[in-house]
């Protein structure tokens, strides 16, 4: 029963099956490997023709910024393409494009992911194009996060101090004061639940570790550091443990909702008043407004308060926050940096973004905060001066935090572990898993780890 014909057929079948599976990944990896590198000859615009640069981003209000820039800059024309937010696939899209050689000239990347992009070699060193004068304009904490290994890799758009958004009416009905400490927050959560069994105070996002990371930063932990040429990773310190235990406690006691960030479920539960608050950052004000503000009856229900802290003193981490980075192969870095400078440090750039109505970014250039404040329409927050809250929080951002070069691996392992919470996984064990994954990834990339 083993004629050569049958052998051949079996071999063919094997080959066909192997083909089908491998094809999937290789096609993805192989597509578009020779990008449009020839189109970059006309850099600098010295020949009088306008330089045209491409830009990928997703920050709210970006379209308006690009329009305003193009209208006022005849020598540089920016082509903007809106991509999904980083966490929702935008980062995958960018790194693929860089790998394939057809990346845009400039793109948005958040602070936590910037070191990963730099380490992958996807980002250009723009130190020579950024003057000391320009650097001095930005909030030092923001500049710290875009300066890696002594070079400047990106220009920060916003600082993203944390803020607590809450439903005034629901808090009043339950007789709950705005919590100042995390102990009070837990008490408030229990009261809200007691007032209405369907109501929870806020949401733990299992799909987005950045909120948890901001909480850890706020508590004073430092996950990443360097000594000489080695990385130091400390995700098991006392502060981290305190924060992880706290959130696990809220989840175990069913005092907090566990839902994906910015999902339809999340939106629905906010609309129904089943979730009374949102633990966000400055930019979240615009997101919340554009998500819920389409219904005029929501206007005036929401308010902003400082994030609760451990000791009642103002303290903040940074949750996300956007920067402009120039891609590795771009030959138009000068024009790209000019656009990024305009978008982040001029009143016109900030004005255009905030006036779009959907952004409440807190400018990384503190001088422009009044511009942003004047441009933001606050009827959704009942006329509250939300930028005053952000401003105090920005002053309380804990310094010296650094992001590691493997946040892609760190976050995806933490995300997957958070996803299994309630099925044998806890917040502390998820953090532990992420630490192991981080160390393994550092080693895999050939980077040294101290201690």
């Amino acid at each position: 029963m083993s004629s050569p014909a049958l052998h051949r057929r079996r071999a063919l079948r094997l080959a066909a099956a192997a083909t089908a599976t491998v094809l999937g990944v290789t096609l993805l990896a192989a597509c578009g490997s020779d990008g449009d590198k020839s189109a970059s000859a006309s850099d600098a615009g010295s020949d009088g023709k306008p330089v045209s640069i491409t830009f990928w981003g997703w920050a709210k209000g970006t379209k308006d910024v690009v329009q305003a820039f193009n209208a006022s800059h005849p020598n540089i024309q920016v082509t903007f393409e809106e991509i999904p937010s980083g966490n929702a696939g935008g980062y995958a899209k960018i790194s693929n494009a860089v790998k394939a050689g057809n990346a845009p000239d400039i793109f948005n990347v958040e602070y936590p992911q910037l070191p990963d992009f730099v380490s992958q070699g996807a980002v250009q060193d723009i130190s020579k194009l950024v003057s000391a004068d320009l650097k001095g304009k930005y909030l030092p904490q923001s500049m710290e996060l875009t300066t890696l290994g002594g070079s400047t890799w990106a220009l920060p758009l916003d600082a993203s101090p944390q803020a607590l958004y809450y439903r005034k009416d629901l808090f009043e009905k339950a007789g709950v004061a705005v919590p100042k400490t995390w102990d009070e927050f837990k008490g408030a959560a229990a009261k809200l639940k007691a007032a209405d069994a369907n109501t929870r105070i806020a949401t733990f996002f299992p799909d987005d570790p950045s909120t948890f990371e901001a909480m850890v930063w706020q508590a004073g932990a430092k996950w990443f550091g360097t000594s000489g040429d080695s990385w130091k990773v400390d995700m098991a310190g006392a502060e981290t443990k305190k924060v992880a235990d706290y959130w696990q406690g809220l989840i175990t006691d069913d005092l907090i909702r566990v839902q994906p960030s910015f999902s339809q479920q999340w939106t629905a539960s906010l609309q129904k008043g089943e979730t009374a608050a949102y633990l966000g950052a400055a930019w979240g004000g615009g997101v919340l407004k554009s998500t819920l503000g389409t219904d005029p009856s929501e206007n005036g229900k929401w308010a902003v308060a400082p994030m609760p802290s451990w000791d009642g003193q103002p303290a903040s981490g940074m949750l996300g926050g956007t920067t402009f980075a120039v891609s590795k192969d771009s030959k138009k870095a000068k024009a790209a940096v000019e656009f990024a400078t305009w978008a982040t440090t001029t009143p016109e750039g900030i004005q255009a973004r905030i006036a779009s109505g959907s952004s409440s970014a807190y400018p990384a250039d503190p001088e422009l905060v009044p511009v942003a404040k004047a441009a933001f329409k606050t009827e959704f927050y009942g006329g509250q001066d939300i930028y005053a809250v952000y401003q105090d929080a920005a002053k309380a951002i804990k310094p010296n935090w650094a992001w590691g070069p493997t946040m892609g691996a760190t976050n995806s392992s933490m995300k997957d572990a958070f996803g299994k919470i309630g099925q044998g996984t806890t917040v502390p064990s998820a953090v532990d898993t992420a630490q192991q994954a981080t160390l393994a990834e550092l080693k895999n990339r050939g980077l040294k780890v101290a201690g």
């Binding site: 990896a29 539960s269 299994k420 309630g422 050939g446």
Partner: protein
Amino acid sequence: MSGTTPVPGGGTSAAARGGSAAAAGARRRRAPFGAPAVLLAPFLVLFTACTLIPIGYAVYLSLFSERRSGLGFGGTTTQVFTGIGNYTRALGDAAFRDGFWNTAQYCLLYIPLMLGLSLAVALLLDSALARAKRFFQLALFLPHAVPGIIAALVWTYLYTPGISPVVDALNSAGAQVDVFGHPLPAIVNIAVWEWTGYNMVIFYAALQAIPREVLEAAVVDGAGPLRTAFSVKIPLIRASVVMVGLFTVIGSLQLFTEPMILHDVAPGVVSTWTPNMYSYAAAFERNDYGLAAASSVLLALAAAALSVVVTRFTRDRGEKRTSKPARQRAEKRTETAR
């Protein structure tokens, strides 16, 4: 072309016959690659360009890892040959192994369910009692016409608590359903919805091809509809069932779209829920192309091994059945000899 070319003008002379046979033989010997080569060339070119080269590239990628210097910022990046390093890394990763375990559970739940359902529906449609056959065929096939991504999105909407009318209705009726807490049945459900109708059409076509005399003979012998279905129809369309089973097993290993869509809303569907998703996450979330290539090659090998096992298993059983009487006769003979 054969050796019996008729000679014009009547009868074929022996000489002519021998001569033309020799000529044909010579043609065959002289150009062994002529026509086949021309006819196979387009296939071979495409096969090489679209299959062999990409596979070769994946295998090549899987043997290398990127290493960086210093803190990893702006230093040099070098491609290091790591041999089977990426393979051991993938196999040593519990997430990758979990992916296979999830797929195995999915197969165990999905394949019997879907095969049973589509076979049952096909037999019902084939039975003499069925009414409105055309309508049911079309209605049942329709879900397959919906692209997988759209289907997954529609089902995601139906699964999401707080949005789905179905989940809300069940909840208000007192049944606390948590679909996202149990992603496996949720994904199996989408797949069953998508594929039952399609495979039903295959089975139905096979059933229609059964000679009517056989079925009449069964009726004459006194077999009822059930007996006819189980003892006559199903054995006769066995080849189709095996083929559908094989395709389904291979398809299950490539499970990607549905869990990927659910991953966005159900954190329980982790980013490495199936081996395919593991490769995707390695390539596009962690930018580890070596690991992604190694894990996809491993997946391909698993698929190949599985298809060999499935075909071998089903064929052996077929052979046993046909040779059973012979074996019985042989046994009887040895018994009498003893």
